[in-house]
Symmetry: C2
């Protein structure tokens, strides 16, 4: 099951020539989940992976740089005769904000549902959940944790064969927990393995709920609006410095840290250098970069630069 | 006095990878006038001429692809501590739409004035006016005509000298209409010359008011959403085909025709070829292209491709 994160817009509150306003696309199998949707996100999608027919949008908070692209995108879905319904989740006030945007969107024919989430509320996607993690910002803000269900343990086919089980349907029975020819499943199937975990912090000062949600995560996407020389300002505005994000990643022991929400004052390198001094496996994605998140036994998370992919048609 | 038109966004209702949503910047001397402001316009400006401190925005009509970039741009002006006031003009309903957007913009500290214009209402900019020309669209829509005041006629310095006037202050007196040493101004100063005229159609089916406003214009920026094979659809949606725009340009005898609001189905070449068969001096600007509009005696209007200018820093 493929799992990847596309960095659709990596700027802070104001866009730059290189960085669009906040938007991150999670792709898992056929699911397309957008987290935040700053102004211009529909075009950022068109310029990269296409104007994906998203099923779900999660908003981290209601500062306008994080959601003002939503009304226009909904309008474009209408123009494209979309018929799949769309659900928008966000903190308290999301429903009210989207209601105020009806002057723009009307009531879309495809069916738009808007849901205000509670802290730690969990949305079930079948074999994974997405949970709203309370972040620490100037207004109510959530990070989101995508956590896959545990997977069955590793099946030792060689050992099972040696114990006299014939490869074929009997292997499946053992893996589903049945005893076969006196061989118990726990003899040839290892303990359950954790599913993958991807956590996005949204806008936040360093905080415990995000750190706890990120424990052992395969990928933590954390904001790093500032560097340490602006630590005071980061505190005042309830944002994080690159070093703070790196410390949190280290404490949470994540596999990879991706920093985003970069202030216009930085090119990206200062952010990366500062974070790597504390947490070496840090990347600062550019717009349209992708991080692939394989199962641990298949390899490490890796950043694929936009330039490495073919240009959109 | 420099006069140029920057094509900030040249798409129709949905953006493409290459074309942003509608926005056109008129630069005259130090004045910066934006006509329409589709979603993403602030970033298009940042990617080209910079997030200009506009004094005035004119909206052609209230379809969202033409104004949804305004709330976010106003928000960014606030973040940049702008203090110059901003006036937004548009057809009836503009004030109401901007009032509905207060959930996004609040009441900007720099002072935002929104004015619903009447048909043919004229805004005076000192030595030029901008007039709201009623277009023909599915909802009330304006084109805008920028018309400079007449300029004094050409002064024949050689003739004046031959008639015994001394170069210097006396030349100025003649040009201001005083008789000097028995030489009457009309003997050495030609008739008043027309100022320049730039007309933007906004979204419209071909219509008389735009044609009349464009009579002898230096530049007509006209929409061409479709080609002739979609003429029926153009009629139904109250848009124009490239050929229709070219015919109108020919009848109005403009110096140059620039086509914009190109539907996603076209690359631009089909639009250009179709129009040029009728009106050869047609261009189809790409985003960030600029048309310079000199006084007629200084040269022809000319399209400067974005690539010909240095990349923004």
């Amino acid at each position: 099951m493929d799992l990847s994160v596309v960095f659709v817009g990596t700027a802070g509150s104001v866009p730059t020539a290189r960085r669009g306003l906040p938007a991150t696309l999670i792709r898992r199998g056929g699911d397309r989940i957008l987290v935040d949707c700053g102004e211009g996100t529909q075009r950022q999608l068109i310029r990269s992976v296409g104007l994906t027919d998203l099923d779900v949008v999660f908003l981290t908070h209601l500062h306008v740089d994080h959601w003002l692209g939503l009304p226009g995108m909904i309008k474009s879905f209408e123009l494209r005769d979309r018929d799949r319904p769309l659900t928008v989740y966000g903190p308290k006030g999301t429903e009210e904000a989207m209601r105020a945007m009806r002057v723009v969107t009307g009531r879309p024919r495809f069916g738009l549902t808007v849901v205000d989430l509670e802290k730690f509320e969990e949305i079930d996607f079948g074999d994974y959940v997405i949970t709203a993690i309370p972040a620490r910002h100037r207004i109510e803000a959530f990070g989101y944790a995508l956590v896959e269900d545990d997977r069955p343990g590793r099946f030792d086919a060689e050992l099972a064969t040696a114990r006299g089980v014939t490869p074929g349907p009997d292997f499946g029975r053992l893996q589903r927990g049945e005893t076969v020819n006196g061989v118990a499943p726990e003899e040839v199937v290892g303990p359950d393995r954790h599913g993958r975990r991807v956590v996005l912090s949204g806008d936040t000062a360093p905080c415990d709920p995000i750190r706890i949600a990120a424990e052992g995560a395969d990928l933590l996407v954390h904001e790093a609006t500032f560097t340490e020389d602006e630590r005071e300002r980061a505190m005042q505005t309830a944002h994080s410095t690159a070093r703070q994000a790196a410390l949190l990643a280290e404490e949470a022991d994540v596999r990879m840290l991706a920093l985003t929400h970069v202030s216009t004052r930085y090119g990206g390198r200062e952010i990366k250098d500062e974070a790597r001094a504390t947490f070496p496996n840090t990347v600062v994605p550019r717009d349209f970069d992708v991080i692939e998140v394989p199962f641990p036994e298949k390899g490490e998370p890796s950043l694929v630069r936009d330039g490495a992919r073919p240009a959109p048609a």
